[in-house]
């Protein structure tokens, strides 16, 4: 059995907000939810998506941090900014290609999903994955995901030519090996409905 991995599948998200509530139970940021739950195109579709930190192998957030406050653990988890160092400049918020880091004005600090490090570092599931009823957020072994799902997990993303690999996997239809993130892939009103009804 391989080590447990984090898999996300936006197409399974039902927008129930359970992950958002559970996230605030995480001991490393109690009372504050780090997960983003976005409505994709409200006028066209009920589709929602959870966005957690993808934990990049070479995190852009850390590279652009002027305070050298963002650290990646040896097991590949990119942590929230170090409190003594973060100067609240928001470089990370805007540099992240997934739009993950959150800037908290009150405490003048960037915080983000740390994959529930208090839990996952001891083999437990992250809070969001424990409560997600549709398993859009799934934490388990590669064997489990291969057995249960028809899709393929990928962790290679391309943003305008720049390749980013991540610790967290995204589920895509079989046959695909990467996600080339294009801004105009489906944008106009009703695109989603037309596309999925064809």
């Amino acid at each position: 059995m391989g080590a447990k991995q984090f898999y996300i599948d936006p197409s399974r998200c039902i927008g129930c907000n359970a992950c958002v509530e559970a996230c605030a139970e995480c001991d490393t940021h109690p009372g504050v939810s780090m997960i983003h739950l976005e409505q994709i195109q409200r006028g066209d579709t009920v589709q929602t998506t959870p966005i957690i930190c993808m934990h990049c192998d070479e995190p852009a957030c850390a590279a652009v941090c002027p305070a050298d406050a963002i650290k990646r653990t040896p097991d590949g988890v990119v942590q929230s900014s170090l409190k003594p160092r973060c100067i609240g400049c928001t470089n990370c918020v805007y540099a992240c290609p997934f739009g993950v880091p959150k800037y908290d004005v009150a405490v003048d600090q960037m915080m983000k999903c740390d994959m529930c490090y208090d839990r996952t570092s001891v083999g437990k599931k992250p809070m969001c994955a424990t409560v997600c009823p549709s398993q859009a957020l799934f934490f388990g072994t590669p064997e489990e995901i291969a057995e249960m799902r028809g899709g393929t997990p990928i962790n290679k993303f391309i943003f305008d030519g720049k390749v980013v690999t991540t610790k967290v996997h995204l589920m895509v239809p079989k046959g695909h090996v990467q996600l080339d993130v294009k801004p105009n892939v489906l944008v106009r009103k009703s695109d989603l409905l037309i596309k999925s009804r064809v």
Partner: protein
Amino acid sequence: MSTNPKAQFKAKGIAFSWATGVAILILAAIYLGSGGLARFDAPLAAYASATIFAGFAIAYRYLMWIQRPPTWRYFVASWKLFLKPKRLVANLFKLVKLLWNNIVAQKFIERRGHSRWIAHMALAWGCLLAFAITFPLSWGWIQFSVAANGSDYLVEVFGKPTISFAPGSVIGFFFFNGLNISAVLVLTGVAVAMHRRVFNQGAQAVQSVTDDFIPLFLLFAVAVTGLMITASYRLMGGANFSFLSLLHAFAVILLLLYMPFGKLFHVIQRPAQLGVAYYKEEGARGEQALCARSGQPYQSKRHHDDLVEVMKEVGVDFGDHQNLSPLEKRKLIALNQLALKDDAPFVG
């Protein structure tokens, strides 16, 4: 500073030159401030040497730090904005407010939690008080002598007589116990911080011995050995005084040598938070960047343009993707996943 070995060598050269300059400056300040070492207190020489080394290492790390591309950009931009002649007066007023909120009262830490704030205030002010007392003493800038009446203490600063006080007066109490007070403050802070580190599960998950415990151990060692010196001469008739003095000096020197390398370096980094405040203020006043997908403003144009340059410098150039707001970036992951599935009813 980039990953290019030549540029790194240059950056290290600049840092080394500045650090050497700072060390020489401290040496000169000691020499001149102590009247050509006439007032230099020889038993404190070890402390003085440690401050020179700490000054060198702190300056070296600081220079290496500000030469990183994102840091340098903020450093230059915020100084330029601060010194803008048109806004200088307003900026100075703002500085007083920023200093009060962020450095003196540390309000942003208070909003993280009361006990965390109490711990940090006690540690910060305990340490600063101790430094304010001991640095001038070990550099020979301040010394005590006898006042004209033959019984009062006279404080001499750079050899010039200033105030005098009776040994039993209130001011005398604070003069003699300044370091005891700072030790009690530090111990209070260490206790509250240690309680959190031992019992808080969230802290347990992310803390490390080198980053989080060693600074607390060092501060504890300095405060306790310092108090033991007082206990020795007040309560124990001077027993083991010289050994305790040596032990305390050892602890303090360890702390000073650790300062540039570990968590405590944040004391030197923290003023950058004030510079960023000016940068943000200017950004909010100016033009805003509009998201290429939603058309909504999401970031100041100045910050957007600077960040694009920084990203190129550090090798994470996302091209046009950088013209999207974080919100739209998040949506695009789901949208692009959906686009991959074509006619399939679901991803699986």
